[in-house]
């Protein structure tokens, strides 16, 4: 990547859930950055901590979850220690959010127009009529036909795909610099998914908005993201340019993940699968969390946890790439 | 069979969950105390409040034993006729409990029969019965009980009415509360009706009545038990309310509600114990039964927790 100063920087983020049976560490030393206008894909199995990273950035972790360590910087300024009220001013205005299920994300009792104008008027100095005019503009921009008539409709009068377009408009209407999109297409019909992703990508490029795109769909990532972070058991295990991570993954988990995606250009007899399952939070093994399932596991992996190491075109949290290690087969 | 049932009970999850719930154990203890005191009243009460010979007007209006002018012979004080309040409460609780239990049994009988019939037969019978239940449910049950009591009172000559007043109250409270049972049983019956064992029984050629009683009924009794427990508290309160209003049990058989009503007349002159202690007894009984009912519902329906 270029040396542009990052828009968002996450340093050694740690999220804990205190529980009756001890504290669960949900995110462990998560570090990454997003440059202005960049789209960072975040992939991993369910429970790997992708969505939680997004929730931690906008500080809407489900209680009792809390940020227990590390820093989050937006445009060079720490935001992880802001008061709730200061954070509220950042949400929507600086960092927008898109949730998974458009059927439940919109308040059923307010018209979409009202939800748009109240968001804009909270953050921007707009009169009622200006806000309404902009709201219509946004609905047009996200591809709602006859926006001027539909603005006074209630969410239930829209289809799922249309509702997600409204959600996108809501996330972008106060012109944030960054959007955290948490599985924005998972709940949609397959036929709609591509349209919504294309829309997101187009708007991000047009507005020069950065995006953190959380998904478990490698196809979506490959199509949309500039860089990608692979997460496993609350840790980033590999991060790098999307082309490299997809074509030449370095971490054994990423390799397994990519092999489990059916290629489009040729038939394979049987898709590879990774044996075993991701450990639960209260049963993460010492050393590298992937060690029980890793085909290339060796002694050091069982005792010592690797940080992200230079692995050529990407960075991977794997001892295979420690220059001090003798080459393993 | 009974012994087997008992041992099965102590092995069951129900017993386990009971012994682990402090609220349930405490409520059960209070409920047992109330019920025990009520049932054994003729033998353990300090005084027979109905035996006029033992009453002495010079004992009237004694405050509770711990007050300055209290008398240890009257632990909770005495009323205007020198009657021991504690003994009156124990005998009153007997009447309250009797009416409550009988009323619940009556609603259960009516409700389960209607629910089974409606659920099993379906069609018009179902529609008509459930519509009646709906209409009745629109009205607060205490109002229904009052009306039933009033109508019976009007229909019968005074002397006859006094003789059977207890049954009238039981009938009025029972009839005011059957729809709840009917609705629940109907719901469960609809589910059971289409299960294979019922179809099999039908194929064998068992009669409708027999299938309902021997196959469907036992399977819908769980929820009925829960509602019955929760309704016991309601029935006791309903009786107390009716008696407080002066239309419940006859004055010759005072219940807790009657005691509260009578005591209420002395409230303004400061003899609060005559009305407050029966009130406390009533609340203790109802609250413990209700908490037990809540616990039973949660224990039988782990999904609801």
């Amino acid at each position: 990547m270029t040396a542009a100063p990052p828009l968002l920087e996450v340093r050694n983020l740690r999220v804990e859930f205190p529980s009756r049976r001890g504290t669960l560490v949900a995110l462990h030393d998560v570090s990454f950055s997003i440059a202005p206008g960049e789209i960072l894909g975040v992939v991993g199995e369910s429970g790997a901590g992708k969505s939680m990273t997004g929730a931690a950035i906008i500080r809407l972790l489900e209680p009792p979850g809390r940020i227990a360590g590390g820093q989050i910087l937006l445009e060079g300024r720490r935001i992880d220690n802001l008061s709730q009220d200061e954070m509220r001013r950042i949400r929507g205005r600086r960092i927008g959010a898109i949730f998974q299920d458009p059927l439940t994300t919109l308040n059923p009792l307010y018209t979409v127009g009202r939800q748009l104008t109240e968001t804009m008027q909270t953050h921007l100095d707009l009169s009622g009529s200006e806000a309404r005019a902009r709201a219509i503009g946004w609905l047009e921009m996200v591809g709602i036909p006859a926006a001027a008539q539909r603005i006074d409709s209630y969410p239930h009068e829209f289809s799922g795909g249309m509702r997600q377009r409204v959600v996108i408009a809501l996330a972008l209407c106060a012109e944030p610099r960054l959007v955290v999109a948490d599985e924005p297409t998972t709940a949609l019909d397959v036929s709609i998914q591509a349209q919504v992703i294309a829309l997101l990508k187009r708007l991000a490029r047009e507005k020069n908005t950065s995006m953190m795109l959380v998904t478990h769909d490698m196809g979506v990532i490959a199509e949309t993201a500039d860089r990608v972070a692979v997460m496993y058991a609350g840790r980033v295990v590999e991060i790098g340019p999307v082309r490299e991570v997809v074509k030449h993954p370095h971490h054994p988990y990423s390799i397994g993940l990519m092999n489990s995606i059916p290629p489009l250009d040729h038939r394979v007899e049987r898709l590879a699968q990774i044996d075993g399952a991701m450990p639960r939070l209260n049963a993460v093994p010492p050393g590298c969390p992937y060690n029980p399932r890793c085909p290339k596991v060796f002694d050091r992996c069982i005792v010592e946890r690797p940080d992200l190491l230079d692995a050529g075109s990407t960075r991977a949290a794997c001892w295979l790439y420690d220059p001090a290690e003798p080459p393993h087969v | 069979m009974a012994a087997a049932a008992v041992s099965r009970f102590f092995d069951s999850d129900l017993w386990w969950s009971f012994s682990r719930s402090p609220v349930a154990v405490l409520s059960a203890a209070v409920a047992l105390l109330c019920i025990g005191g009520a049932l054994l009243a003729p033998w353990i009460a300090p005084q027979n409040p109905f035996d006029l010979a033992t009453l002495n007007l010079s004992d009237a209006f004694k405050p509770p034993a711990w007050a300055e002018e209290g008398d240890t012979a009257f632990p909770l004080g005495s009323d205007d006729q020198g009657r021991d309040v504690l003994s009156a409460i124990m005998h009153g609780a007997r009447v309250s409990l009797l009416v409550g239990v009988c009323a619940v049994l009556f609603s259960t009988l009516v409700g389960v029969s209607v629910g089974l019939t409606a659920g099993y037969l379906g069609g018009t019978a179902d529609a008509v019965l459930m519509r009646i239940a709906d209409i009745q449910l629109t009205f607060p049950s205490i109002l229904v009980a009052l009306l039933v009591d009033g109508v019976v009172r009007a229909a019968l000559p005074r002397e006859t009415h006094d003789q059977i007043a207890l049954f009238v109250v039981i009938f009025a409270i029972g009839i005011s509360n059957w729809p709840q049972f009917a609705r629940t049983v109907r719901g469960s019956t609809l589910v059971e009706r289409n299960k294979e064992y019922v179809l099999a029984a039908r194929v064998i050629g068992l009669s409708q009545l027999r299938i309902m009683l021997t196959h469907v009924l036992p399977n819908v009794l769980g929820p009925v038990l829960v509602i019955a427990t929760l309704n016991l508290g309601f029935a006791i309160l309903a009786e107390a309310t009716l008696s407080f209003l002066g239309v419940g049990v006859p004055p010759t058989q005072p219940s807790l509600g009657t005691l509260i009503r009578i005591g209420n007349d002395f409230l303004m002159s400061g003899e609060w114990w005559i009305t407050i202690f029966p009130g406390v007894a009533l609340v203790a009984m109802v609250l413990s039964v209700n908490l037990l009912g809540d616990w039973l519902r949660d224990a039988l329906n782990p999904r609801l927790r």
């Binding site: 929507g92 959010a97 059923p108 909270t122 | 109508v151 209003l245 303004m268 209700n290």
Partner: protein, 329 residues
């Protein structure tokens, strides 16, 4: 909208007819109205004349139709006990009950809803715990005991408030009100609290449960993610959604305020319809009971209608569904 109201009204008619039938059956067949009205000494001829006058020799349906016709005009005959027209008695007593019930309803609503919202929003605060414990007691205490306790504390021990009656009333046309005199207002305090307390605790618990449910939803999280002010999220988005189920149950519960007014009026010797009714039950005064029954049914049907209309006003989804089904049929 019109079709909706009309269909609701049509549903109410059979309910009213069933109640009228019960009412009429009581009127016609319970006890012996003729001998009660004639008193001790009468001749056979007088008796026959009265039977003809009352139309008791007519067929059942003719009698019933006449009963309904009279009822619609507010004509219920003479009270056995007081030998005065029932309509007059009820009209005389109605203001007392309506003023008491509306005050109780206002207390239940204006105290219960805020308490429910508070306990829902600040679950951990000690005040919430206090409210919840208090509500448990409120639910378990029978109305008449609450009244007795309040009398004991505020009338007997503290001597602050009167324990019975309405105080001085002012006659405005046919309406006698206690709202305009000091003693009338003072007399209202204890009965209104007694009657409202149970409903208050019920509404509080209901609002709290609904609030907790709504606060967990995605659209509330999304509203926060858009940076809306807490006030607008909690009291706008969340509360409005809470109201939908609260309206139904609260509405139905207000019907039971009328029923429990009987008890409260007895405790406080409040000269309202409830006291009239209970005295009539004691004296087997069937015409008053029949009229009261019909009146209560009317109140309930009206409340149900109002609840439906409120529902319709609050929830746009309902409007659409009704519209669609109305168009469908």
């Amino acid at each position: 909208m019109f079709a909706f109201v009309l269909s609701r009204l049509l549903q109410a008619v059979p309910v009213m007819l069933v109640v009228a039938l019960i009412s009429f059956a009581m009127f016609a067949y319970v006890g012996d109205p003729v001998s009660i009205m004639l008193g001790q000494d009468f001749t056979e001829a007088q008796r026959d004349a009265l039977v003809r006058d009352l139309g008791l020799d007519q067929p059942f349906f003719v009698q019933f139709a006449r009963f309904v016709g009279n009822a619609i005009q507010g004509e219920f005959g003479l009270s056995y006990r007081l030998s005065r027209p029932v309509a007059e008695l009820i009209a005389e007593r109605a203001p007392a009950t309506l003023e008491l019930a509306s005050c109780a309803a206002a207390i239940a609503l204006f105290v219960g809803v805020p308490m429910g919202v508070f306990t829902g929003l600040y679950r951990q605060s000690w005040l919430s715990r206090f409210f919840l414990t208090f509500s448990l007691i409120g639910v378990s205490l029978p109305t008449f005991l609450i009244g007795i306790l309040l009398i004991l504390i505020f009338s007997v021990w503290l001597g602050w408030l009167p324990s019975f009656g309405r105080g001085d009333t002012v006659q405005i046309g046919s309406w006698s009100t206690g709202f305009l005199t000091g003693s009338g207002l003072k007399a209202l305090v204890l009965p209104a609290i007694t009657l409202g307390l149970f409903q208050l605790t019920l509404i509080m618990r209901l609002v709290r449960a609904e609030m907790l449910e709504v606060l967990r939803t995605d659209y509330i999280k999304f509203a926060r993610a858009r940076g809306l002010a807490d006030r607008s999220v909690n009291f706008g988005h969340a509360l409005k959604n809470t109201l939908v189920p609260v309206i139904t149950i609260a509405g139905l519960q207000f019907g039971s305020i009328i029923a429990f007014a009987i008890v409260t009026e007895t405790v406080f010797q409040w000269p309202g319809m409830g006291l009239l009714f209970i005295q009539s039950v004691g004296a087997a005064d069937i015409p008053v009971m029949a009229a009261y029954l019909l009146l209560i049914a009317l109140v309930f049907v009206t409340i149900n209608l109002v609840v439906d209309l409120l529902y319709y006003a609050v929830d746009p989804r309902l409007r659409a569904d009704r519209g669609a089904s109305a168009r469908g049929t």
